[in-house]
Amino acid sequence: MSELVEALKNKLGDLNPEVSEGKGFISVSVDSSKLREAAKRLLEMGFDHVKTVTAVDYMKEKQFEVIYHASSYLNTDLAKYIVELKTRIPRDNPEVDSLSDIWVSAEFLERETFEFFGINFRGHPDLRPILLLQEVADKHPLRKDFIVKEEGIFK
């Protein structure tokens, strides 16, 4: 795994990535303006598809973390690894460049992230809600300020 960490550091060196090993993945954190460039270089390295696109809402820090988990199908050596490409964006103006022209597999997943978090993917070919109706998608259910009430254990 550490070899790949070095390789990633070399490949993405001028984008100032933070590369670290996580539990089951290699984390690559870049600035949101450099996300597209990082994705292109990962694709060049052989990471040909994404497994998930998602976001995490850090409400206290007023930030979203947009996460792409990329891996490889065609290169069996790289298939063992999952690269987590992530970036932080401000919570009040959530916009990030779409990567769905680089990774076609991200298309539906970005639509899903769009509707659940309200993150606008610039340049996405078809940015509509996919699972929810428009009315529900406007509330962005996976943001932390959308609260689902849980019951107590007493009747």
Binding site: G22, L74, S105, L142
Partner: protein, 405 residues
């Protein structure tokens, strides 16, 4: 009471694009006899589809949000509801991710038991897929046979876990029940029966010239396109990509078992049908091996088992049931983020679990195989005839509840 009904200008979920003048727009679903709870909006030129727009979400349950409000153990039965016929496979990566965060590893016997149920589930899931595939092609016998034979494996799973479908078997730390009496003999009978039946499936379905005509060279996904679309499971292996999580990143006991993963080059619907038959055969082999190689020991991690009072051990001796210590109800998981993947029946399922050292997860992200396969409808279906849509739909084994989560 007014007699005229006003039609709202825009019905919910009806944000349609303008279509070409000579195109005919047909809505396949959501209450269509074949498609299940999903709609594909197709635009046809004559009989040929020029554009397809899959419309998912009819059985969406916001599982990721619900998971944020629940304790870690309660998420296992929740996530099972995605694909109840593949319950162990679909929740296993979640359990693994939690185990990674807690830094515990299940005992070897638990690993084997998980593999056992996973493979029983895989057989059942593939049989379900074959059944739906059969009815899509109008082959009623191929609908009934796999559904009938799936009953054998559902019964087997019930014997092991006590529930026919939603087993909630694998939990962080181990499994909930040990192998019951006489399971090995029954499993051997079921495996022998299924091997025999697969031969008959081949005769009535795969070697049937009518079916072959419908499937060969239909819905071809080339190797590069499959990688680009990021589709998963048997579909991607039918396109010649050697990707199976059980081999790429062996989890549980898979690195100790001997099995084959079939890979086909053709990438058409016929290869996707064949690959499922071969995978069932391999799963049956794995079931046999697991029952032979199963090590003795506890099915639960000693960290939990050590705290158990004597009554728990007595119950385990008598009924093979692993009782849970009350600690499970509010399991505190150390902070961190873990990512895990597993090969479910329909393909790779991935989980990302983030904990902030609390009793409830901060974020659970799950992407199910069917959701990743849904993109096929948009990119592969155009160019085929209307009658090919069911063939492609059936061949990728799309399961709406799983995709919608």
């Amino acid at each position: 009471m007014s007699t005229t009904t006003t039609i709202p200008k825009k019905l919910p979920g009806m944000d349609l694009k303008k279509i070409g003048k000579d195109l005919y727009e047909v809505f396949i679903g959501p209450q269509h006899p074949g498609s299940g709870h999903m709609r594909i909006i197709i635009r046809v030129d004559g009989d040929v589809i020029v554009e397809a727009d899959p419309d998912l979400g009819y059985v969406h349950r916001t599982m990721e949000k619900l998971a944020e409000g629940r304790e870690f153990i309660k998420i296992v039965p929740l996530m099972e509801r995605m694909a109840i016929l593949d319950a162990c496979n679909i929740t296993l990566p979640y359990v693994e991710a939690v185990e990674k965060l807690m830094d515990i590893e299940p005992p070897p016997r638990a690993k084997y038991l998980r593999v056992l149920l996973c493979e029983i589930n895989r057989v059942a899931s593939h049989l379900y897929g074959m059944g739906i595939f059969g009815v899509f092609l109008g082959h009623s016998t191929m609908y009934m046979w796999p559904f009938g034979d799936r009953e054998v494996f559902v019964e087997l799973a019930e014997k092991l876990t006590g529930a026919r479908l939603t087993h909630t078997y694998a939990i962080p730390g181990g499994v909930r029940r040990d192998l019951p009496q006489g399971f090995k003999e029954d499993a051997e009978k079921a495996v022998r029966y299924m091997f025999k039946r697969l031969e008959e499936y081949r005769k009535i379905f795969l070697d049937n010239p009518v079916i072959q005509k419908r499937l060969i060279d239909v819905g071809i996904i080339s190797k590069n396109l499959a990688a680009k679309l990021g589709i998963v499971g048997p579909n991607v292996r039918a396109s010649g990509i050697k990707y199976d999580v059980r081999i790429i990143e062996p989890y549980e006991a898979y690195d100790e078992l001997d099995f084959e993963v079939p890979v086909y080059e053709e990438g058409d619907a016929f290869a996707r049908a064949w690959i499922r038959i071969i995978e069932i055969q391999q799963s049956l082999n794995i079931i046999r091996q697991v029952l032979e190689k199963m090590p003795e020991g506890d099915p639960m991690h000693e960290k939990f088992w050590a705290k158990a009072p004597p009554l728990y051990k007595k119950v385990f001796q008598e009924t093979k049931r692993v009782k849970l210590i009350p600690l499970f109800a509010n399991l505190k998981v150390p902070a961190g983020r873990a990512f895990a993947r597993a090969e479910a029946g329909r393909g790779e399922v991935v989980y990302m679990v983030e904990s902030q050292n609390a009793m409830k997860p901060y974020r659970v992200r799950v992407v199910s195989p069917s959701f990743r396969n849904a993109i096929v409808f948009k990119y592969i279906v155009p160019g085929h005839r209307i009658a090919d849509l069911p063939a492609i739909y059936g061949s990728i084994d799309y399961f709406p509840p799983e995709a919608d989560r």
